[in-house]
């Protein structure tokens, strides 16, 4: 019998598992596919403080710190590069929005300064002459999300976590003193269970715990160009948050910003919408005109589950002792390693370094779950 069973091997599940194991727990992690092959491995890899939700800035700063220090806890720098970032406003209206949003983030500790368009072009010579105002954050950068699965696999093995890939959890049964996960390869039992199923959390919670936490399925689009000579050096974003743009070390330019494709948890992201692809590319080339010379070689979609209030759910499930959930974290690549550590601290009975996010507030009564749980809307920590 293990101490903790983690369901889902994205950045959240892997980080929780790693911290629990390093604290001495016997941990088993079950992942339907390969480690970090969903959101955590296909995300744009942007570590931009400037575009995080104001309320999450303290968490994002700690997440950023962990990435800058990845060699120490993950065993590799994970392609971390701090290049600084500029966020752009192209109209007067956007300039006001930018100033207001950045001020809220600054109040929560983000080191952001507002700069004029000339200064912005000094900082990033690849910019067009279109921005009217910009903000600058020296911390912004990126890491390679595509390597994450391989890095966690090695780190988890070193920490003696039993990792089972291509092992889908088909049901979780509660039994005295713990939980048992059913898989094709047989049952796996532990005293505790951590649900870290990303966009698939909603289904897991409903199926195995009768708890309904609606998740908005965001089908995020990311594109990459073929290798190009250097055309830009910073992370470039826009006031609305709908662009992230950077050139990686190998010369490819990665274009994201949360433009949407079609997808759902059953089929994954299955269709790129041409207008949204062209729209995302137009916006990118409006900011950095040298992109017009590029060829896009790949566009992909990944699923991100957002709660209705767009805040994380990290904590114990009501009515299910020793069952925990971690998810719903926007910008979860940046913040994930820290969120995982916070939940591990909580599970280990320590005081988490920052408050975690009681999932109870996000629960809505559902007919199938009637009688199993009650809604306590005001108990978010």
């Amino acid at each position: 019998m293990h101490d903790t069973l983690v369901v889902g091997g994205g950045v959240m599940g892997c980080a929780v598992a790693l911290h629990l194991a390093r604290a001495g727990q016997r941990v088993v992690l079950l992942e339907k596919g390969g480690l970090c092959m969903q959101a955590s491995g296909v995300n744009a890899g942007t570590l931009a403080i400037q575009i995080k939700r104001a309320a999450l800035i303290p968490y994002a700063l700690r997440g950023w710190e962990m990435w800058s220090d990845a060699r120490q806890w993950l065993g590799s720098d994970a392609g971390f590069h701090q290049v600084g970032g500029v966020t752009l406003a192209f109209t007067q209206e956007e300039a006001e929005m930018l100033a207001e949003r950045m001020e809220a983030r600054r109040r929560n500790g983000a080191p952001i300064e507002m700069v004029g368009s000339n200064r912005a072009r000094e900082l990033e010579p690849g910019l067009s002459d279109k921005p009217v105002l910009a903000s600058w954050c020296a911390l912004d950068g990126y890491a390679s999300s595509n390597e994450l699965g391989m890095l966690f696999r090695a780190a988890l093995a070193n920490a003696d976590v039993e990792v089972r890939e291509f092992a889908s959890v088909d049901a979780i049964d509660r039994l005295s003193g713990g939980y048992t996960a059913r898989t094709l390869a047989g049952p796996v039992s532990a005293s505790r269970v951590v649900l870290a199923g990303g966009m698939w959390l909603e289904a897991l919670l409903k199926r195995d715990f009768g708890i309904h936490i609606p998740l908005i399925c965001r089908v995020n689009q990311v594109s990459v160009t073929e290798r190009m000579p250097p055309i830009m050096r910073r992370v470039v974003g826009v006031a609305t948050g709908q662009l992230t743009l950077k050139q990686s070390q190998n010369g490819t330019v990665i274009i994201g910003g949360g433009w949407q494709g079609k997808g759902d948890p059953e089929r994954g992201g299955y269709e790129v919408i041409p207008e949204n692809l062209i729209g995302n590319l137009r916006l990118a080339s409006y900011a950095v005109p040298a992109l017009r010379k590029a060829r896009v070689v790949r566009t992909w979609l990944g699923l991100e589950g957002n709660t209705e209030d767009a805040m994380p759910i990290v904590g114990e499930l009501p009515g299910a002792p020793n069952a925990f959930v971690i998810g719903g974290v926007r910008g979860g690549f940046t913040i994930g390693p820290f969120m995982g550590m916070l939940l591990a601290q909580h599970i280990l009975g320590q005081q988490p370094e920052m408050p975690i996010f009681d999932p109870t507030r996000a629960i809505v009564p559902s007919p199938s779950a009637a009688g199993k749980t009650t809604r306590r809307p005001d108990s978010a920590s």
Partner: protein
């Protein structure tokens, strides 16, 4: 957005015949092809600048011209120089046209995208002067160009002898033919080939011609390496076992050459079918991963797959499958009754089966055997776009990779502009061999659009800031 009854993706024999058939039943048809003119691979249209005597060298020219004329007369919209980069149920096909991006809509879709050539890498493959075997047929057919000789022609399948004979006929010199198969394997296939005595005779003619010209033919042999500095200078020929692995310590011979044409079979081009969500299975004898379709090529609602992209079966079968697909769409869209459909298809099916018997015999001969990719040397580059060596793949598998999608994300193998079309088989074979898993289990790369690179200059068009279709904003 332009709308049609049916879009046919690919203007080879399958696509052209599907278009002609669909037109016969009154459907509004668009044929998309990236080539200058319809024709596909086998009926590749000769370049218009070629002199008549240069064109004469092209085999199959007459049948190609007949089909091209028929499809031109059929009233189908021939959207050549249109490169499709995505398709979606519903049905929508997104293309880069000569003037920019366009999306086409239709009630039905027929995929007839043909094949791509498989080349399992060996040292020296990237030297100037090395071309694909199938690509060599295009040089010969479309441009009447012969590779700079002497040429070594290596690999597997009838294209070996077609290319070697074609080079000889066009005035080039063939230094050697290096055939992975033993003569007994050719003899063993005769039974399956007998249904097409014309093609069999043509093949025998090629062989006899090569023998007359004194071209050495190495059977059960492979290119261990291609040597050279700024171009090809020599090749190393090594004997192989029945599984196509090089025999350790076997006698190698080195011969001088200035160019190499090498190919290890044809692989169905299934990316569009996979993008449309069609289930696939691995069948080495049909070229690799093939879509699950009915005998008439039906893959789903208003979706048909015809020709070599449904499993390599050759040009004759491709045409017949195209006809069946055209009829299937005509029935699905209510242009012909079930009875008429049964009557018309009943006549075609026996011919299709006969043609498939021939085509499948050939594709089974070309089926990839495990020893070839296993023998790739550690330093040899497997993914040319991203510069990924055999060693890097071995390392990834040692690090826990068990599926090709994991391989792709951890090593970037298959992530480049060719979308992994060139290295898919070699990479998957190595993962399968190193893990002991089957090719089914190690899987196939998830297709990512754009299936062909999109040049932004063309795709973006002229636009103002107001023309950017903003999505709704998220809470800050």
């Amino acid at each position: 957005m332009s709308r049609y009854d049916v879009i046919i993706l690919g203007g080879g024999p399958a696509g052209m015949r599907a278009a002609i058939t669909a037109r016969q039943h009154g459907l509004d048809v668009a044929v998309i092809d990236e080539g200058q003119r319809p024709g596909g691979q086998i009926y590749r249209a000769p370049s218009r600048d070629l002199q008549p005597h240069e064109r004469a060298g092209a085999t199959d020219l007459a049948q190609g011209e007949r089909l091209r004329a028929a499809v031109a007369e059929s009233g189908a919209h021939l959207l050549t120089r249109h490169r499709a980069w995505a398709a979606a149920p519903g049905i929508r096909v997104d293309c880069i046209a000569p003037d920019g991006p366009i999306s086409l809509e239709a009630d039905a879709l027929i995929l007839a995208t043909g094949t791509i050539e498989r080349v399992i890498p060996m040292p020296g493959l990237t030297l100037p002067g090395v071309i694909g075997l199938a690509a060599a047929t295009i040089l010969l057919k479309a441009h009447a160009v012969v590779p700079g000789g002497p040429t070594v022609v290596a690999g597997v399948g009838p294209l070996l002898y077609a290319v070697a004979a074609g080079i000889g006929k066009a005035g080039g010199r063939v230094a050697a033919v290096v055939d992975l198969l033993a003569p007994s394997e050719w003899a063993g296939a005769l039974l399956g080939l007998i249904s097409r005595p014309d093609l069999l005779a043509r093949g025998a003619g090629w062989m006899a011609g090569l023998r007359r010209a004194g071209v050495p033919i190495h059977h059960r042999a492979t290119l261990a390496a291609i040597h050279g500095g700024r171009g090809v200078e020599a090749v190393e020929i090594a004997p192989v076992a029945a599984d196509w692995s090089m025999i350790p310590g076997g006698p190698q011979s080195r011969i001088a050459a200035a160019s190499v044409a090498v190919g290890h079979g044809l692989v169905p081009a299934t990316e569009f079918a996979r993008l449309m969500g069609v289930a696939h299975r691995y069948d080495a004898a049909r070229g690799g991963w093939v879509p699950e379709v009915s005998e008439d090529g039906r893959a789903g609602e208003n979706l048909y797959i015809a020709g070599d992209c449904a499993g390599v079966s050759g040009a004759a079968a491709a045409e017949l499958a195209g006809s069946l697909a055209g009829l299937g769409v005509a029935r699905d869209l209510g242009r012909i009754s079930d009875d008429t459909y049964e009557k018309l298809t009943a006549r075609l099916r026996p011919s299709l089966r006969r043609a498939q018997r021939f085509g499948w015999t050939i594709s089974a001969m070309m089926a990839l055997r495990p020893g070839l990719a296993c023998g790739i040397a550690p330093k040899t580059i497997v993914c040319r776009c991203e510069d990924i060596s055999r060693q890097a793949i071995d390392n990834a598998v040692a690090g826990g990779v068990r599926h090709v999608n994991q391989l792709k994300s951890t090593t970037r193998c298959g992530m480049g502009p060719c979308q992994g079309r060139s290295c898919a088989d070699a990479a998957a074979e190595i993962v399968a061999a190193n893990t002991g898993l089957s090719r089914e289990a190690v899987g196939i790369w998830t297709p990512r659009v754009p299936l062909r690179p999109i040049p932004l200059e063309i795709a973006l068009g002229d636009f103002t800031y107001a023309d950017i279709p903003w999505p709704p904003m998220l809470p800050a």
